[in-house]
Amino acid sequence: MAAATPTLEESAAYITRSGKPTAAEVLARARTSGRPALQPRCGVGGHREMAALLLELEREGAPDLLTLTIDSHTRLRRFESAERALRTDHRTLNGYPLVTHGWQRGRELNELVAVPLEIRHGSPDPRELFATAVASGVTSFEGGGISYNLPYSKDVPLADSLAAWAEVDRTCGELARLGVVMDRELFGTLTAVLVPPSISLAVSVLEAVAAAAAGVRCVSVSYPQGGHLAQDVAALRSIPLLAARYLPPGVEVHAVLHEFMGVFPRDRGHAEELIFYGALTARLGGASKLITKTYQEAFGIPDAAANAAGLRLASVAGSPLLDFVTVDEAAVGEEQEWILRETAEIVEPVLSAPRLDSAVVTAFAAGRLDIPFSASRHARSEVIPRRDPSGAVRYHSPGRLPLSRASAERNRRLLGGPADDASGASLFAALRRDIDHFPLLFGETPEGAPAGPSPATPGKEPAP
């Protein structure tokens, strides 16, 4: 397996020689066409199985890009576990252990399909993975020092993940000088559940500024569909404006929508309605790319047939026959104004600091940057999101985020009253309902509520 990894120059030459379009090229074309490029998540443990999966998806789903989704052991650099699982039973891996398989197999996969590949993972420290990816001829790499730390690990210091990702970004800069523009997709989806748009966009702005400074030339800013059309469209349309405001010229920036990333309805029909709604949201928001979901989302990693069906369904939403479908522009305008404002309030204090990395670390420690439902101890998760009666995600409490009084008050007003109106048990129950928004909207009963009857008061996680 462990043949000497090619040099960056060799990899760049390989990519150029291959004649395949790069991810950046596909994205640029999609933006011009006005029809979002489509990409599934997909990864299985075995190599032959991964090859078969890519081929079936390309044949049956006609995606514009394909993915190698990486298993969770590899993401956390538990390479020994990845290796043992691969040896024992590759079906117990929830993704393709690329580092373990090695770059030659990566090239095999790359050469198997006509469309470019992206690595989707969740690695606080992705350096081995990135090196293997580049050597494999992969031209898009997801993640970032914040967005692939806080949702994806418990105790990796932000300073470490930021440093690791800065290395990746610098290498992308070198590759650009060698003629290969890597697409670097940021994971604005974060913890996926009730993420306020301004938090998603703020984290992406910070990561994009760092990436651009390191030499990255093509940035995809992904945003997770929250489920409120005007808010989601406004967030997507904010991406080019934020790029113009905070990024140097010469960096290509693409808006990417991730179809709803929270708790999915179980019924196939309901799931497909949500998938289509997401695809329409991407179109109306002017996204260059859409990451698709499947009707099996609530159950587990989808099989190839379900995955291809998800691609085909999303594709329908891009039809020229739907040119007549429009969105309430006034509502979008109003949302956008506030999203841009909140985002500015969150990022500008950090961007004004002399060193971005350490400013980010300090801000998260102090709660001036924060995300809800953090998997990591290195965010405080004092932000409490809620859905307002129209379904939009608002700040029930902004925690210690430096939101202006006007922003905070608007959030409170839209939620229907002062923050302490809902607290304790009723807040907890309301949050559960907001998490289960779509199953409930479709009249599905949520899975058995956790642990016992209606809980008395929400409790803070004590440090273990």
Binding site: G300, P302, F428
Partner: protein, 159 residues
Amino acid sequence: MPMPDRPNGAPEREGRLVILGVAASDSHAVANHLIAHGLRADGFTVVNLGTCTPVAEFADACARHPQAEAVLIGSLNGQIHEDLHDLAEAKRSGRIPCPVLVGGNLSVGSAKDAASTERLYALGVDQVLSAAADLVPVLDALHAGADGATGRIPVATRR
């Protein structure tokens, strides 16, 4: 989420402590937050180790909290079997002396079969729960009479 440390008006389960966490390779946080909250509301003291918790870390928590009546391990990403690779040894050596209960999404893929549950028992799990709602009844049954550290608990949810 910032939540007050202690619930008021919780049922009388004074002094009953459980250790909670998510399996080693798994960073899904939401269910973990909610389950910790629910157990506290029901009167338990919860030592929540959070996401990405290797077996060794559960064992360390058992050492710090010898009164723990159970270790509750959640896993959603499908990889629980490899994540519990060291469990049998930790139980054999007594480093995890109390019953281990697991729940969540316990295999990779959308079609589930019973084999993955059987393999969990083989790995040293005492009880596989099909829903978080079963946690309190199972813990109470265990508390009331089951033989504690060893063997599985005979309750309805057991397949």
